[in-house]
């Protein structure tokens, strides 16, 4: 196992060295503000050790979150914050436009995935989901949840249709319904009862709130009907909260 990990590590290392080896072209921008501050690292806490004056040009080498590594004409390198870099001029002499993800991208998103956690009738649950938007209001989602209870553990897998009534709201409610299967496995320390797989149907409601960049916060409530082989069907309530990202 360790040998395998090392092999993977070395492969990644080599791949990275190779990708750094071939020369590439960078964007060049001209400083339009009185000066551009270069930090030693990609965060506000790192000190400013260099400034570039108005009229000078810098190459943009890479980006890490809100920070850009630039190289000056003299060959000095440093990190510039997005707020300052947005005030530089691009190759055409216009203000540099930096690709950023905002609410517009959120409203026109196609794919979304995330992780939520909460309570499933007394059991802790960890859920993963992936969704695809058919229109601004309608999307389909696949959910896989692991149930971690005191007496039993299990899995639920469901396919859902989600309707978002006011997608343009920053905090937007949605309604959902779906179907799937639940597998319940009693704990090994308990007297053995057989594992069960049953069909489930669900309805639910929740809210999705856009936070920043590619992230959304989600909270939801779902009510399940477990179609057991016994005479009575079981009803289970679930609530959970978590975050998702869209792309």
């Amino acid at each position: 196992m360790i040998v395998r990990l090392w092999t993977i590590g070395i492969t990644i290392l080599l791949a990275a060295c190779m990708s750094n080896a071939h020369a590439r072209e960078y964007r060049v921008v001209e400083v339009a503000d009185p000066y551009l501050e270069l930090h030693t690292g990609a965060a506000k806490g790192y000190p400013i050790t260099n400034v570039v004056e108005r009229g000078e040009k810098v190459e943009i080498i890479r980006r890490k979150t809100e920070w850009f590594k630039v190289r000056t004409e003299r060959g000095d390198e440093g990190w510039v914050n997005i707020s300052q870099l947005e005030l530089t001029l691009d190759e055409a002499g216009e203000l540099l436009e930096i690709e950023s993800v905002g609410r517009d991208e959120f409203l026109t998103r196609r794919w979304e995935a995330g992780i939520l956690t909460g309570d499933f009738s007394g059991a802790d649950t960890v859920s993963l989901y992936g969704g695809y938007s058919i229109s601004r209001n309608l999307s389909v989602e696949l959910w896989a949840s692991q149930l971690l209870g005191n007496f039993s553990t299990g899995w639920i897998g469901t396919a859902n249709v989600v309707h978002e009534t006011w997608p343009e709201w920053r905090v937007s409610p949605y309604f959902t319904m779906g179907t799937g299967v639940i597998r319940t496995e009693p704990k090994s320390t308990l007297v053995s009862t057989p594992d069960r797989t049953d069909q489930v149907a669900l309805v639910g409601a929740g809210v999705r709130a856009y936070i920043t960049r590619r992230f959304v916060l989600r909270g939801e409530y779902k009510s399940y009907v477990v179609l057991t082989s016994r005479d009575e069907n079981e009803e289970v309530e679930e609530w959970k909260i978590g975050f998702g990202f869209f792309f």
Binding site: A43, G45, K187, T189
Partner: protein, 225 residues
């Protein structure tokens, strides 16, 4: 020089126009020199109408961090053993990141099993401790580490916490993890991480329900992409 050529050329054109229009119908005659002369310079000096194409190379964004780690993990009652794992993180600001991790370790026999010589509590497969989790990390105290007089590395500490699931002793257990770590940036894309984490879950594996703390310390290498 160029001017002289232009005059010469214009004269020649004018002459040709006079001659050719002389052969053509009369109403055209009065108009001809004007239009022809106006057109002529266009052929001589070709205006640069083609727009200069501006190349805009894409800026390389490195917000994802993938890595592997190895270290020691103490599983309560089941000894201290080597742990290995992998992580995938996304940094969404200079201070905040989310991370998914998967790790596993072997565990030893409990002291009771060893001393009493009784039957083993767990099978070999149940003895494997596997976990996955999703956590949120917060970078604090950014700074520089000076290795030699002229060489320094950027570094920062981080606090991290999250939840997930552990498969151990034949059960899946809801697990909370929290801890802190140190990230040293070797260069812009490689980092070394030292991480201390506590994985907490409730278990009744040894008969009595209790909260188990499983401490792990590991060294990892990560790559930003």
């Amino acid at each position: 020089m160029e001017n002289r050529f232009r005059i010469l050329f214009l004269t020649a054109i004018a002459a040709v126009t006079m001659l050719s229009s002389g052969c053509s119908s009369l109403p055209f005659f009065g108009k001809a020199p004007d239009t022809e002369v106006a057109e002529a310079p266009e052929q001589v000096i070709e205006p640069e109408v083609e727009r200069r194409e501006i190349k805009k190379p894409k800026i390389d964004t490195e917000d994802f961090e993938i890595g592997a780690y190895g270290g020691l993990m103490s599983v309560e009652d089941f000894g201290v053993n080597t742990v290995v794992g992998a992580t995938l993180a996304y940094h969404f600001s200079e201070s905040l990141f989310v991370e998914a991790a998967y790790g596993q370790t072997d565990t030893e026999e409990t002291s009771f099993e060893l001393l009493s010589g009784a039957a083993e509590l767990l099978t070999d497969d149940e003895r494997q401790f596997r976990y996955y989790n999703a956590s949120v990390g917060w970078n604090i105290f950014p700074g520089e580490t000076f290795v030699t007089r002229n060489r320094s590395f950027n570094q920062s500490f981080y606090l991290i916490g999250g939840l997930g699931s552990t498969e151990f002793g034949g059960d899946d257990l809801f697990t909370i993890n929290f801890g802190a770590g140190y990230r040293l940036l070797i260069n812009d894309v490689f980092a070394m991480r030292i991480d201390f984490r506590d994985h907490v879950f409730d278990t009744d594996l040894l008969g009595e329900a209790k909260t188990a703390h499983n401490l792990a310390a590991h060294l990892g290498f990560t790559f930003f992409f």
